[in-house]
């Protein structure tokens, strides 16, 4: 069997830039951040999809819904992110059929970790950011590397090519126990200032804010370069 369409794109793309090695996490570019507030959480991503230095789309979805109170963002290679998302939705639907309820965020994080670790010697090149509201409306966020090593944080988690800038921005701007409006402003400012320092991500922002009663999705205006 010959190479698939994705593999042809990778071959052609890398042929144009054979002067430096193919950095797989920088092939598509991405920026993801999740933050915890008081009984709420926010997860934000950029909107660019590129093939190395060429931009293909400016409305690419990186944050996906698992159920009303649980969302996952997937950074890294876009094809692996979409495949991971499809596998996870399948596993969650089977869980819903068996258990007749939604998965808790901690359980879901263990599921994602197990799926990634299963591919230890031939991994998916994606780094998930999981955010959800657990029991008693307690927000839960976590991130993993591409092998499934979980990092549970109480404040914020970041992922993607802009992650180093995001670490810096979030460390300075984060405050504990923010309300939904303040959390929205903080996560948006952290995202926009970080992607401005990263060539491979940006072209607007998408912020999803979840409180116990509603879900707010906002598209941010950012620099289109």
């Amino acid at each position: 069997m010959g190479p698939t369409v994705t593999e042809w794109c990778l071959i052609i793309g890398s042929a144009c830039h054979h002067s430096h090695p193919l950095q797989i996490f920088e092939y598509n570019g991405s920026a993801l951040v999740a933050m915890v507030g008081k009984n709420c959480f926010a997860i934000a991503s950029d909107r660019r999809l590129g093939v190395q230095l060429q931009t293909i789309a400016t409305d690419f979805q990186r944050v996906f819904k698992i159920h009303d109170r649980l969302y996952i963002g997937l950074s890294g290679l876009a094809t692996d992110a979409q495949t991971m998302y499809q596998k996870l939705v399948f596993r969650h639907k089977m869980y819903q059929l068996r258990e007749e309820r939604d998965m808790k965020p901690q359980t879901f994080a263990s599921l994602v970790s197990a799926l990634l670790y299963e591919k230890r010697f031939g991994p998916f090149f994606c780094q998930p950011v999981i955010a959800g509201l657990g029991d008693n409306d307690e927000p839960f966020i976590c991130t993993m590397d591409c092998l499934g090593a979980k990092e549970l944080a109480k404040d914020f988690v970041v992922s993607g090519t802009a992650s180093e800038s995001l670490y810096g921005a979030c460390e300075s701007m984060y405050k504990p126990d923010m309300g939904p409006e303040e959390l929205f402003e903080t996560i948006s400012q952290a995202l926009l200032s970080s992607v401005d320092r990263d060539c491979l991500s940006g072209w607007g922002g998408y912020v999803l804010l979840v409180t116990p009663t509603e879900v707010q999705e906002k598209i941010l205006k950012g620099r289109m370069d």
Binding site: P3, E7, L10, I11, S14, H18, P21, L22, Q23, I24, F25, D68, R69, R91, M94, D102, S113, Y117, E118, K119, R120, F121, G122, P123, F125, M144, D145, C146, L147, G148, A149, K150, E151, A153, S163, E164, Y167, S172, M173, K175, E181, E182, F184, E185, T186, S188, Q189, L192, G204, V210, P212, T213, E214, V215, Q216, E217, K218, I219, L220, K221
Partner: protein, 272 residues
């Protein structure tokens, strides 16, 4: 005959993306850095049991990914294991052996022994020939007494009265070699372990943040999470950043109320 897509694959690793990844490697792919626990981990035997210690920094290349991660993993109520190396490997291998020990306890009806955990770990790591990159310090107290072992990624083990592993192991070992003696009391043991971890935190770049300590004695285990916090954040401005509401420019908003899930309680049972 219709083949059903069966849901959970029967455990173990799956190699189906290896052909694609090999093709990418030939195209010049550089494998991304995995999250490692740079680390200083230590263990020592004192008069009543075992003390384990670890720092709390997780790195991804040169960046600190987690400032307060847990490196002392639960194996059984009387056995704990510190892990260094690739973070996913140490977590997965300790979780797996912990579950196997639980099943073994159900089968035998006895408290787990440290050598059981040791044999399970070393045989798993040896069968993967060092590719599962987990370097562990395993310590516990069972009916035969206190035990401390080190396990290397290729599957070799050592049984020692005091041990250090990880990138900060030389700094920590220097403290142990000068100050360790047999028959330490509990307080002396904890102090020595904390001092060794601090040596790793301050002198090794791969280790940092806080000191975790775990004290295991016959019949009792104390997990002292964040026993010492020698690196507090003192430079934060008390006011922080405050953003005015509406400062960020928004192009569009969509608000969806969350429908509360209706739980049906009661109802008639099905007939027959």
């Amino acid at each position: 005959m219709v083949k059903m897509t069966d849901l959970p694959i029967k455990g173990g690793f799956s190699f189906d993306l290896c052909t694609r990844n090999q093709m990418l490697l030939e195209k010049g792919l550089q494998m991304p850095p995995f999250r490692k626990t740079g680390t200083t981990i230590v263990g020592l035997v004192f008069q009543d049991g075992v003390v384990l210690g670890a720092d709390t920094r997780a790195t991804e290349g040169p960046i600190v990914a987690d400032k307060n991660c847990e490196k002392i993993h639960f194996m059984a109520s009387n056995i704990y294991c510190c892990g260094a190396g690739t973070a996913a490997d140490t977590e997965a291998v300790t979780d797996m052996v912990s579950s196997q020990l639980q099943l073994h306890r159900y089968a035998t009806g006895r408290e787990s022994r440290v050598v059981t955990a040791l044999t399970l770990l070393k045989s798993h790591l040896f069968s993967y020939q060092g590719h599962v990159s987990a370097a562990l310090i395993l310590g516990g107290v069972d009916v035969t007494g206190p035990h401390l072992h080190t396990v290397y990624p290729h599957g070799s083990t050592d049984t020692l009265p005091f041990a250090t592993m990880g990138s900060g192991s030389l700094a920590a070992m220097s403290v142990f070699e000068s100050k360790y003696r047999e028959g330490l009391t509990r307080e002396e043991g904890i102090e020595l372990v904390a001092e060794a971890i601090c040596a790793g935190i301050f002198n090794d770049l791969g280790s940092g943040s806080n000191v975790d300590v775990c004290v295991i004695t016959k019949g009792q285990t104390e997990y002292l999470r964040n026993y010492q916090l020698p690196n507090p954040r003192t430079y934060i401005s008390s006011k922080g950043y405050s953003f005015v509401k509406g400062q960020t420019e928004v192009l569009s908003t969509k608000i969806t109320p969350i429908q509360p899930k209706v739980e049906t309680v009661g109802g008639d049972a099905m007939e027959e």
